[in-house]
Symmetry: C2
Subunit: 296 residues, 2 copies
């Protein structure tokens, strides 16, 4: 099934790639042509609503990639672990990090409650039995790239893994690969630090309000950690979407990545037919493909 | 000469790449091993010192790539064109832009004085007669990548061009390719928007104080433009390094990119031998290679 879908997608991509760039639709054209079925409504149980002073940040969790870490994060959220903690680190062109400030001590500032204090890393998934929509691209780090379950992935002939693209959320850890628990999380705020791929458990992506993390003042300590408590941005609260009444939460739709429409949209980003572009490259990198998100 | 250097460098790169990853030096090892000759002191005539409320931003201009635009920018700086203007745009995961707020009207807010109001785009340079230190990498956008004159470049068999990597500074323009003049400039503050390569004139890189541009609040208007004057970050002053006495200016050194030491440093970034990394990729992307800069 994976191979069949991959084969169909590859043919579609090649057909599109060989089309005259002048006939390529603009991104606006593609967006205007979308049907309701080209969008998906994320499961509220997979959404984290994080409130900060500057605004709301919404993270879509990816249980298909890291089910145990996400179960642990859900437990912490339900027990209000994150409420009142802070963003502890903002390193320019790298990551913003929040939650437990002391990775050596899980219960440093707040007891982890029912949550586990360490988990085995969840990084790789077998290619077999999973569907990947391939993106035709020369990637510097992975043999092949594409999207699976809505998230950017790299893959080889056996397995696939989520990529450290902009806005992707990961689990901080110590030197030990299996030392993370989800009490401290980070989001990529700069050029994709792809050397971290395959080394850390990734759990989702910021799909709304990313600017409230990316524009935080940079910390002046080592690795961008804030040096004083006053500099740290407070996290007012974190709730699962499923904990908030539908009428009271920001409802989002995300462009599906397993559709022909998504491939057309990628194609419009590959060949920029807008008049601003005099040399519409015809090429694209996975880091420059972020599925659109809109208020529903 | 180009081919000879490229050939020698390619051999060196291949030798390094085939070395056992375990024997790869750490970045700290390489940094500690550097000789004074592995660094360069940028020509003060190529440095822009931009003062903002949050701190100093230093840009290194690249006259080897865009001599006419840079001559124009130098003229504007000397005539104090930028002083009192503002950062007009901050678009998340894209660019911060400053200077002339109205690209349709060069003299909109302030007269351009002796500077020219439009210039022919300066994007490509012939490979012949220029030296490029190649970086072994699969790049999504360019056939080959490397560094020339200290800046990241893409190249094919005939020509090369600077790349829209993090911190790179470009000339805003209208739809017409030759409509830029340097009165409005932008710096890349997100994942490298490489689809802009070959479409805009690039003039240098922010080598110090990048955080004062990248952490600005995002504008809420179209394309991240600020909607009110109050939101715009003021530019207190811009001076050429050559206009400031040596004792009074921040003096920087930048790692040279045409040395064997630079290739060793890149290698240490390719194979992360630090104990934190359990899968030290062995691969690298040009967007993740930013030559180190230190206070002298």
């Amino acid at each position: 099934m994976t191979k069949l879908l991959a084969g169909i997608m590859a043919v579609a991509v090649n057909l599109l790639a060989s089309a005259d760039a002048d006939k390529s639709p603009t991104t606006a054209d593609v967006m205007a042509s979308l049907a309701p079925s080209d969008w998906r409504q994320p499961d509220p149980a997979n959404l984290l609503y994080m409130q900060t002073r500057s605004g709301e940040i919404i993270i879509e969790l990816a249980p298909a990639f890291a089910p145990k870490h996400i179960a642990n994060i859900r437990t912490m959220v339900k027990e209000r672990y994150f409420d009142g903690l802070t963003v502890t680190r903002s390193q320019d062109n790298y990551v913003a990090q929040w939650g437990n400030p002391d990775s050596e001590n899980p219960n440093a500032i707040k007891n982890l409650g029912s949550a586990k204090t360490s988990l085995k890393a969840e990084i790789f998934k077998p290619l077999k039995g999973n569907e990947i929509a391939p993106i035709e691209s020369r990637d510097a780090y992975a043999d092949y790239v594409g999207f699976s379950h809505g998230f950017p992935v790299g893959y080889d002939d056996k397995r696939y893994w989520m990529l450290h693209c902009y806005g992707i959320v990961g689990v901080s850890r110590n030197t030990d690969l299996d030392s993370g628990d989800g009490s401290s999380l980070y989001a990529v705020t700069g050029h994709a630090p792809r050397h971290l791929d395959k080394n850390l458990t990734l759990v989702g992506r910021v799909i709304w309000g990313m600017e409230h993390l990316s524009s935080l003042p940079r910390g002046t300590g080592n690795l961008g950690f804030y040096e004083t408590a006053e500099e740290q941005e407070p996290i007012i609260s974190v709730r699962l979407g499923s904990e908030i009444k539908e009428a009271e939460r920001t409802r989002l739709k995300v462009m599906r990545t397993d559709t022909e429409a998504f491939q057309r949209w990628v194609q419009s980003r590959r060949y920029r037919s807008h008049e601003f572009f005099h040399d519409p490259t015809g090429r694209i990198g996975i880091g420059n493909i972020i599925p659109p998100v809109e208020i529903q």
